[in-house]
């Protein structure tokens, strides 16, 4: 082995080691600052991670666009059918007086809230876009209690990383990280355009996370779960977990 090739081998080895440890340090830092999405693995993991990391850095303090009243859509499209089952119909017949929102998981005081209780908490109304990943959209005024307020009432534990929210409809749930869960515009919504939230738009309760696309705004929500890992709470759809784009 000649000197030159040995030198090349050593510098090459050092460069490779530096590169790998650099990447490892970057990954650790990114993970510590919440820049790695749960779907970072797989063939599309690199793109999903770049999108999530860059948008998390960019949107740390950003607010979803809010619109003047004149831009509220006259024809908001209620995508999909409301639940048909007996239980839901019975609750609907009683004006959802018996609807409960259970909050559990990594919380100090698990609780269950009635609609009336939720409506008694500090209220927020905002006129925002609901944009579906398919391409259509509408603007409405949404009224509800900030999710952060509900989480404050139950006391989230320090290791909490995600909030999973469940629809009363079977196999329908989604989740957001704490950045979006604690964001002031993320609402447990019970009103739309000045009236009760219609069943077609997710009544009586719907999560609205206006900095993400519509599929993160799950309808007919009756359960919140605070967790540090999404391994057991992975939606069955193959859609990317982060929906800020």
């Amino acid at each position: 082995m000649s000197n030159v090739s040995r030198r090349k081998l050593i510098t090459g080895g050092l460069a490779a080691t530096a590169g790998v440890s650099g990447l490892a340090v970057a990954a650790r830092l990114a993970n510590r600052y919440g820049l790695i999405p749960p779907d970072y693995g797989g063939i599309y993991g690199a793109g999903a991670t770049l999108t999530y990391a860059s948008q998390r850095l960019l949107t740390r303090h950003s607010m979803a666009r809010e619109f003047p009243r004149s831009l509220i859509s006259k024809d908001p499209f209620p995508n999909g059918d409301p639940p048909h089952d007996q239980d839901f119909r019975r609750l609907e017949a009683g004006d959802f007086a018996d609807w409960r929102l259970a909050v559990e998981g990594l919380v100090a005081r698990p609780a269950s809230f009635s609609l009336a209780e939720l409506k008694s908490y500090p209220q927020r109304s905002q006129i925002t876009h609901l944009a579906c990943e398919e391409g259509w959209s509408f603007i409405a005024e949404w009224t509800g209690v900030p999710l952060s307020h509900v989480l404050e009432l139950v006391g989230i534990l320090p290791q909490a990383k995600y909030v999973v929210y469940y629809s009363v409809q079977r196999d329908w749930w989604d989740s957001v990280d704490m950045a979006d869960a604690l964001h002031p515009q993320t609402l447990i919504t019970y009103g739309m355009n000045g009236a009760d939230l219609p069943v077609g738009h997710g009544g009586p309760l719907r999560v609205r996370a206006p900095r993400q696309l519509g599929y993160k705004s799950i309808k007919h929500v009756n359960r919140l779960l605070v967790t540090d890992s999404l391994k057991e709470y992975w939606p069955e759809s193959s859609y990317s977990w982060y929906a800020g784009i």
Partner: protein, 242 residues
């Protein structure tokens, strides 16, 4: 006179023909990565558009509002009335993953290309029209393409690189609710998110038209020699026809 003027030119052409450098390594590598990304973006983009082949202007639009225009294609959602008696399968999950992954690779590759293009003088030497290149003659297409581009080609490439690509990236970002929350002007400048989506579609159509013309030109100029130039970087078998 004509002959004496012709011979030296032929001589230089033949001399240059044996083995002339044509495209630098950066141009070749970024070209093929971009080509691959463009294909991925096109396939996934068509897939995504199928889920709502209606276009609008302004901030909002959905199946309950009138559209600007509809594409005469079937849809992957039963909510959209297309006139076709069937609904295509929903493939948006992987399509959206692939679209944004390919977009990242394309944008990073494009940045590398633009930085190199400025630093190495690629734009100045090869793409910005210079006095000597102000020739519109297509008779010399094969010869001109083998060594440099004519003014129409130069302007087209510059338009694609500095107008169409930035515009398609910009309108893409304008559709992102999170990105628009951080930088609202990215979408308000177009008059709304649906306007941005419509412009994104038209810019994509222009890029596809460019690609088709580009491929036709490559074939007319000599498919083998043009492909060899963009793969090996050299023009080898160039012959001046009498």
């Amino acid at each position: 006179m004509a002959d004496s003027a012709w011979v030296p030119r032929l001589a230089t052409s033949v001399a240059a023909a044996t083995d002339t450098p044509r495209h630098t390594a950066v141009v070749r590598v970024t070209h093929w990565i971009t080509a691959l990304c463009f294909f991925a973006l096109l396939v996934s983009g068509v897939e995504i558009v199928i889920s709502h082949p209606r276009f609008y202007w302004g901030e909002t639009g959905n199946v309950l509002t009138p559209s600007l225009f509809d594409l005469p294609i079937p849809s992957s959602r039963d909510a959209v009335q297309t006139g076709y008696g069937y609904v295509l399968p929903d493939q948006n999950g992987w399509s959206r993953y692939l679209h944004f992954q390919a977009a990242w690779v394309a944008v990073l590759t494009g940045l590398l290309y633009v930085v190199f293009g400025v630093l190495a003088g690629h734009f100045r030497k090869n793409l910005i029209p210079a006095g000597a290149d102000l020739s519109w003659r297509f008779k010399r297409l094969a010869e001109a393409q083998a060594r440099s581009y004519n003014v129409l080609q130069r302007l087209t490439y510059l338009f694609v690189i500095f107008v169409l690509f930035p515009l398609v990236i910009w309108t893409g970002l304008a559709m992102s609710p999170a990105f628009a929350s951080a930088i609202p002007a990215v979408v308000t400048v177009f008059g709304g998110q649906q306007s941005a989506r419509t412009i994104h579609f038209f810019v994509s159509v222009f890029l596809v038209l460019f690609l088709l013309v580009h491929i036709v030109m490559v074939c007319l100029a000599g498919f083998r020699s043009r492909m060899r130039a963009m793969i090996t970087g050299r023009v080898v078998s160039y012959k001046e026809q009498p």
